[in-house]
């Protein structure tokens, strides 16, 4: 029985952690033209930059802490730049040139896929 104690401890620790269940992006700046920002889609007209508040969601009863490491990285910075700010949960998305790319999500060191991103040549 004592041999199983470390296993129980590991399981208990895992059960007390947040379970990644997507990401929520909230616009915090006021772009002059319409943009589409969500946890599943980013669409910006060329030349526009927006600030977004990023909130990882948890499906367990334990939420992420404010200081849990969170990274967003553009797979193609020639199309869309993702820049950091003083606030680790706020990022600035910059539409550099028309095209499609994806924004990688990393929460507490784990990769969680990417958000498809489109930069439009003209506003919709």
């Amino acid at each position: 029985m004592n041999r199983l104690l470390p296993l129980f401890a590991l399981l208990a620790a895992a059960a007390c952690q947040p379970r990644y269940d997507g990401i929520e992006l909230t616009l915090t700046s006021t772009p002059p033209v319409p943009v589409r920002i969500s946890g599943t889609e980013i669409e910006l007209p060329l030349g526009v930059a927006v600030a977004v508040d990023v909130e990882p969601q948890s499906s367990s009863r334990f939420n992420y802490y404010e200081d849990d490491p969170l990274e967003l990285r553009s797979q193609d910075r020639a199309i869309l730049r993702v820049e950091i700010t003083e606030d680790p949960r706020i990022f600035v998305l910059v539409a550099v040139s028309p095209g499609e790319t994806c924004v990688d999500i990393e929460v507490v060191g784990d990769d969680h896929g990417c958000i498809p991103a489109t930069v439009l040549a003209k506003p919709n």
């Binding site: 030349g47 526009v48 600030a51 820049e83 003083e86 506003p123």
Partner: protein, 282 residues
């Protein structure tokens, strides 16, 4: 009951103080921590009075093909004491090319400028609109809020007049940005360009009685102003030693006429002119 002066002073001191109140030329960034100003670096810039370092009013839009020098400052200097100013970067060089603090507007549309610190953090952002030039105008100098475009100049001999060239978009909005202007008199024996012939702001003088044209050129656009000089005993309007910046609205018998001017999007023949036809504000 009379309000004690001390109380009035205290009330004024308690009023909120923002950069917009201090300087309407300040465009506050979308994060609310920084302020962008339009630097006056080109002589005769219609947005700039002589001797000022930044524009009185930040332009609503920039002219395509123009350049702009931006100045950034913190809203609250105390919070950023001893910090280097962030670098200003264009969101896309396709639309707004940046070269240090100077930006060139390349194509119409909205474009962001972001302020980035040495550790790659974006601390402020702002959007500008770039618009096509729709019309070239000449207006009295200094420029008022809603300047009526001149279509004709009526002067008396000896009279001087200060004029300002400017451009507007299709919505009649005056566009900002440094662009080259030049002025030429088709008959300098009748009307001579005194100063500012290669800037946006010119000073002309009626020499002898007669008729001629004053031609304003901006890029491929030209504006031809018919000029009629009649005999008279004019006094000079404004300071003749200044660079065309003084008030040209008064005169003994001269007048200006609006809304019938001739504009042309192609180069006009200004070969008869003798002064101020070359160069630009850049």
């Amino acid at each position: 009951m009379r309000t004690p002066p001390l109380l009035l002073i205290l009330m004024l001191a308690a009023c909120p103080d923002t950069a917009d109140d201090d300087n309407p030329g300040a465009k506050v960034g979308e994060f609310g921590v920084g302020v962008f100003r339009y630097r006056c670096t080109a002589p005769g810039d219609p947005l700039c009075l002589d001797g000022v370092s930044t524009a009185q009013d930040f332009p609503e839009a920039l002219a395509r093909g123009s350049q702009i020098d931006l100045e950034f400052s913190w809203q609250d200097d105390e919070d950023h004491r001893n910090e280097p100013l962030p670098e200003l970067q264009s969101a896309t060089s396709d639309r707004l090319r940046d070269d240090g603090a100077r930006f060139t507007a390349l194509e119409p549309g909205f474009v962001a400028v972001i302020a980035v610190t040495g550790n790659s953090q974006v601390v402020e952002l702002v959007h500008f609109e770039i618009a096509e030039i729709d019309e070239l105008r000449a207006v009295p100098s200094p420029v008022t809020d809603f300047p009526a475009p001149l279509a004709q100049l009526d002067l008396v001999t000896g009279e001087e007049r200060a004029l300002q060239g400017l451009v507007v978009d299709i919505h009649d909005v005056q566009l900002g940005g440094i662009i080259p202007y030049s002025w030429a008199s088709e008959d300098p024996t009748v009307l001579e360009v005194v100063s500012g012939g290669s800037t946006g702001r010119v000073r002309v003088r009626a020499v002898i009685s007669g008729a001629t044209n004053l031609v304003l050129t901006q890029g491929e656009r030209t504006l031809t102003l018919p000029v009629l000089v009649e005999p008279g005993d004019a006094f000079t309007t404004g300071d003749p030693t200044s660079d065309g910046s003084s008030d040209g609205s008064s005169g003994s018998s001269g007048s200006t006429t609006a809304d019938t001017g001739t504009t042309d999007d192609t180069d006009s023949d200004t070969s008869g002119g003798s002064s101020g036809t070359s160069g630009g504000a850049l």
